[in-house]
């Protein structure tokens, strides 16, 4: 079974600084996707960034980038120039590409609460 682990229950960062959230996962599959979702307080969860396992290039979306290390099964999220609006719970998630009993399902990590200090 696939598992996703976020070892940092809470993180904090000063506004305009950079923060990195950690995520590791365990899978025997070779073809899968990894995601970071953001859940602000009392607001809906939204996708921040996604990474296809077969792509070596790290995904980037504006201030958000990932460090994907497939051999190490590591998928960290870097937030540059942090803003107050980045404060949220961040979930790392895994999804198999096709087939199997986990088809179509997201496996979430435990989440990391990010606080941004002005």
């Amino acid at each position: 079974a696939q598992t996703v682990t976020q070892s940092q229950p809470e993180m904090s960062v000063q506004e305009a600084e950079t923060v990195t959230l950690s995520c590791t996962y365990d899978t025997s599959e070779s073809d899968y996707y990894l995601f970071w979702y953001k859940q602000p307080p009392s607001r809906q969860m939204i996708l921040v960034i996604r990474q296809e396992a077969y792509k070596q290039q790290n995904a980037t979306e504006n201030r958000f980038s990932v460090n994907f290390q497939k051999a190490a099964k590591s998928f960290s999220l870097k937030i540059s120039d942090s803003q107050l609006g980045d404060a949220a719970m961040y979930f790392c998630a895994y999804r198999i590409s096709r087939g199997g009993t986990s088809y179509g399902k997201l496996t979430f990590g435990q989440g990391t609460i990010l606080t941004v200090h002005p």
Partner: protein, 114 residues
């Protein structure tokens, strides 16, 4: 704007009194999911529909049922809510099961059981 809508946003029910939560979508997505999220925890998948095909997670209690009368709507029925069922319930949609398609989440319904 296309979106996932959940009603009501807050629901209070009594112990043992059946309750229904509603989800609708304007995205015309094939897949609809129901998650249970307890305080500061990861969402836990209860079940999902691919079109009319229902897929129940092995550890979802029998107390939880779902209906999808058409593409746009999906309902979560809790037949006899217990105190342990108090949680946020999230509905999500996705175009397909395969690949890296994003799941689009609704704002959730917070269920309180008294």
């Amino acid at each position: 704007d296309a979106m996932v809508i959940q009603n009501p946003r807050y629901q209070v029910t009594q112990f043992g009194k059946p309750v229904t939560l509603s989800c609708s979508q304007t995205l015309n997505h094939n897949v609809m999911y129901w998650y249970q999220q307890k305080s500061s925890q990861a969402p836990k998948l209860l079940f999902h529909y691919y079109d009319k095909d229902f897929n129940n997670e092995a550890d979802t209690p029998d107390n939880f049922q779902s209906r999808r009368p058409n593409t746009s709507f999906c309902f979560l029925d809790i037949r006899s809510p217990g105190l342990g069922d108090a949680a946020m319930y999230l509905c999500a949609t996705s175009p397909r099961l395969a690949g890296g398609y994003e799941q689009y989440f609704g704002p959730g319904t917070r269920l309180t059981v008294t």
